[in-house]
Symmetry: C2
Subunit: 216 residues, 2 copies
DNA sequence: TTATAATTTGACTCATGGGTTGAACTTTGA
DNA sequence: TCAAAGTTCAACCCATGAGTCAAATTATAA
């Protein structure tokens, strides 16, 4: 890649990030190309030198977000952890990717119906791949007797729903840090899957991550 | 209320429902007033005889949805059930209201940022009331020793996130009925709250609602 | 029946915003 | 230095869709 191409690629990435910011703040429709341009001190005309259409920009947000999530998931899958710990890492990783790339992922979570068919096919494909990898982890846990038998797809949707919702309410000013929250979610959401409780007498529980100042 | 007024009120309700349908299918922006009119065999002009603005229509969707949810919640709160069972009923009721008034509630869940300030204040107020009632139930459970100590608001968001996500993936053709799903969610999401496991030896679990054909 | 009020309509205005274009300007490499 | 390629921009076109309005139609009640 030549210097010029590289610079153009970087600019395209910046445009996608700026678009993600505005899409996530105001929604796909209310964010205008002119605003996106202004954000980067361009004019609308220049933006169109780098992109094909607004729709394309939306697709690239989706695509980038899914790539980040998949990349993170693959790493965890390759870690060789036991199923329960691996699933907890999956949940923590999902939440932390979600929150560190907030704009990008808010777009993916909120505006899939805005994508035209030819684009949404691709994104749905990646989303399916993501879910299938997680399903594999859970099925492995069941096979090994770590997890009890459950409707796997339903459980994945339950977990993803809980996690994806965090972007709607999390505030940095709250009493819990992002890490505390993601750990709490991981423990809370994996516990009902375990075929045996961590403590057979039911007094001590798997997780005690609730910080003092967030109690009750 | 005179006959004429009553008829007008009914028509206004129909318009709100038709709007909810289109808003939930295509999003607030992509649904046009003309389409909403066409749905009811009106013309755009007639619609404006009954409504003030598109924004107002969106608000009425939100408002109607929140009223349904609050009404349902209040009934459960007054039932006098013990905290764990009451919370399960709350989750089941939330999910079933959500799904039976799918369009209306999809609008509330998906397009809050589209609401202008003067409207969103009202809706956020009702949402807070809703969450506070649930928070009361959980705090009561903690006080009575049925639930362990947890960050209540975080748990509510976790539960609401999981439940609200159902609208994104549920299909009538799936292997589980709505009732099975809502029961499964209720059991799954309440279990980690219990201060003692239902069975101290960890072999039999609180819930066995996974139907045979949905297993794994 | 008929005057009055309620309702419906379609043609209209108007603002917005996506996308285009061609000319101007800048960078680069020989 | 200078031509060719890369980049920027302002002005423009055009489709869309919210909201208006005055005239036409219909229902109601005296």
């Amino acid at each position: 890649m030549s210097f010029r191409e590289e610079r153009a690629a970087e600019r395209r990435l910046n445009i996608v990030k700026a678009a993600a910011k505005l899409f996530s703040e105001k929604g796909y429709h209310d964010a205008t190309i002119e605003e996106i341009a202004r954000e980067l001190k361009y004019t609308k005309g220049s933006i169109y030198y780098y992109i094909n259409s607004k729709q394309d920009l939306l697709f690239q947000c989706h695509d980038l977000a899914m790539n980040l999530l998949l990349e993170n998931l693959q790493k965890i899958k390759d870690s060789g952890l036991p199923p329960d710990l691996m699933l907890k890492e999956v949940i923590k990783g999902h939440i932390e990717t979600l929150m560190s790339e907030f704009n990008l992922i808010t777009v993916t979570l909120g505006s899939d119906y805005e994508l035209e068919e030819k684009y949404s096919e691709i994104i749905i494909g990646k989303r399916d791949r993501y879910e299938n990898i997680i399903a594999g982890i859970i099925r492995d846990g069941i096979k090994r007797g770590v997890f009890r038998e459950v409707p796997v797809k339903v459980v994945i949707n339950l977990i993803m729903g809980a996690a994806n919702w965090i972007g709607r309410w999390y505030s940095e000013d709250g009493p819990m840090t992002m890490q505390e929250i993601s750990q709490f979610y991981a423990d809370y959401l994996v516990e009902p899957l375990l075929s045996q409780n961590p403590d057979h007498f039911g007094t001590k529980r798997a997780f005690t991550t609730c910080p003092e100042d967030a109690k009750i």
